[in-house]
Symmetry: C4
Subunit: 194 residues, 4 copies
């Protein structure tokens, strides 16, 4: 069974998630700078979430590149990942509208954490389907980013209740870690193709 | 006539349906746990509908895999299925917002039942187009799941007026029945490909 | 220049148009039958528009099947068609919410008429690009449906101000005319392929 | 790494952006002409933005046609462009709802300017990835449109505070400049293909 439709469906969901997040930025009725003011935290949370969805799309792209056979398990692990990513607009809107206050910032971290775990499950499912000489397993290596991120998200969730701004800084640091595309996979794929 | 655009269009509609359902979960203005409280049933109904749309996408994927020629009848049977699936966000939102009360839970069951019938019509249309040695007919076998589900949905609709929670439990049971991907089709396809 | 992205983009826009129309059916806060009542005309207008978008997708599918080369003119004629189709959710919502009263029913007809003209322009642009032995020109033949529909829409627009229900009946009649897929094109394509 | 998913994802985001802009045109509760009146500027701003997104899709289409290899840098430059395009519905809605008053018209220009810069960055990233004999570099030639547009947008932003209507006229002029598809690229591609 091919992976074309899996990619097409995932691209569709991610494209919609990334675009409807902007609908949380309600058009103000007021045409003055004062009208835009309350939207600044909503805008900042939108930027952060846009980058996160971009990272997920990017890494998803690289990960599926190593994958030639799609099993039922992979289909469902992928849907599970999309489920958590579909909650980004809600978590982003709540955090932005409440100006990065405690509970919403913690919930944002919970959604980030759940998506990271779902991504890890999908990764393991693909590795298992590829057998002992799994291209993806070689590509991710020791996967330090994948192991560090959940720990940092958890730290962010706890910190939210003390200082939401430091928690947000932690989420930004994790995003920066991942902004660099997964060159490990690119390298291994090129070696295998060569 | 190829099936590429039929798949692309269906993937698009399903991706949007699954994603806009989350818009029914309105961002609360309140940043406290009390603000999140009323959203819990909305969230639970979202989870259930997400799984249902996932099942439909999954089975649709398998079903079209057996299909090489797309007729006008298949195009319209497919649009008919998409119509009922497009009502999921409405039915889900109404059920969630009213905390699984009687009438909304019954309506949810009606939409599930209509989608199941539309799926069955699409299945029969594809089988008819494939002639006597239809791959899909062999693949679905006695189709006990396809026959049992409408009966269970009907039971759920009736039960909604007495105990919406039992009705919801019935809908969950049907979802679990289908969560297992249609291995019958996978098996037959592999045999034919071999 | 290939037509793959043109089809993908059109499929995307049509899939979104057909799905966001359902958002005009606002989830009622009331869990009773009385709460559903005012939604019945909105639902009926949704059904009609769903069928229309389905017809457009279907015929667009058939029309592009005859087209191998995409010019700048075709790209823009296609965007022009998508523009009018993107107004369906607005026109549908206004007509449904106002229970098929005069002006909204007329505006719905104006959008139908404009989409029909845009479709005709796209058709002529493709025919012109195909030169004297245009496959599409042969396929559409005398194109009686394409010529009759704008006349009927115009009749519907005028009738809206006297009896919106008769106007709506006219729109339904046109939809029924088109529900039969464009077998002319299918036939010619098969002959050419044979 | 292929460009199929990059194109599919971009098409998805652009299709959603172009379609959800129409959601800013809220269905009026009033069924009279008086109810439609306030929507006219919203409609006009929608038309302008629809044309702009159409132009971006069109040129993006042509630009990626010259591109066979997608690097990490191209992926992110493309996401950066999509980010600014995703702000079109917000900027369009604010400008339309406030009847093209000063600040919203200036913000619209800022989003146009940012998208133009993001497009230019993507263009340079692709050229850099193609090496000294870059097809795209030859295709765009002296790129006078790409150089003139940011200057005109800047002029429009400044003019917004004096006469928003002249500013809007400037935005319309730039759109007209671009409405002509990038024949330069078409020509070079044809020469290279020949």
């Amino acid at each position: 069974m091919g992976k074309t439709r899996l990619e097409a469906f995932s691209d569709g969901v991610l494209a919609i998630v990334i675009t409807i997040m902007v609908l949380e930025m309600k058009v103000p009725h007021d045409a003055s700078l004062a009208g835009l003011g309350p939207l600044i935290p909503v805008f900042l949370s939108y930027v952060l979430s846009f980058i996160y969805v971009g990272i997920y799309w990017n890494n998803h792209h690289h990960m599926l590149h190593t994958c030639s056979r799609v099993t039922g398990g992979i289909l469902w692990a992928n849907l599970h990942l999309l489920f958590w990513l579909s909650l980004f607009p809600f978590a982003t809107g709540w955090m932005g509208e409440n100006h990065f206050s405690g509970l919403p910032t913690a919930l944002y971290g919970v959604v980030l954490l759940a998506a990271a775990i779902a991504y890890w499950i999908l990764q393991q499912t693909i590795i298992a389907s590829q057998g002992p000489s799994s291209k993806l397993r070689i590509a991710i290596g020791n996967d330090w980013k994948g192991k560090l991120s959940p720990a940092l998200y958890t730290m962010g969730i706890v910190l939210s209740f003390f200082s939401p701004w430091i928690a947000t800084a932690v989420y930004i640091v994790v995003a920066c870690l991942w902004l660099i595309p997964d060159r490990r996979i690119e390298r291994v794929v090129q070696q295998h193709d060569a």
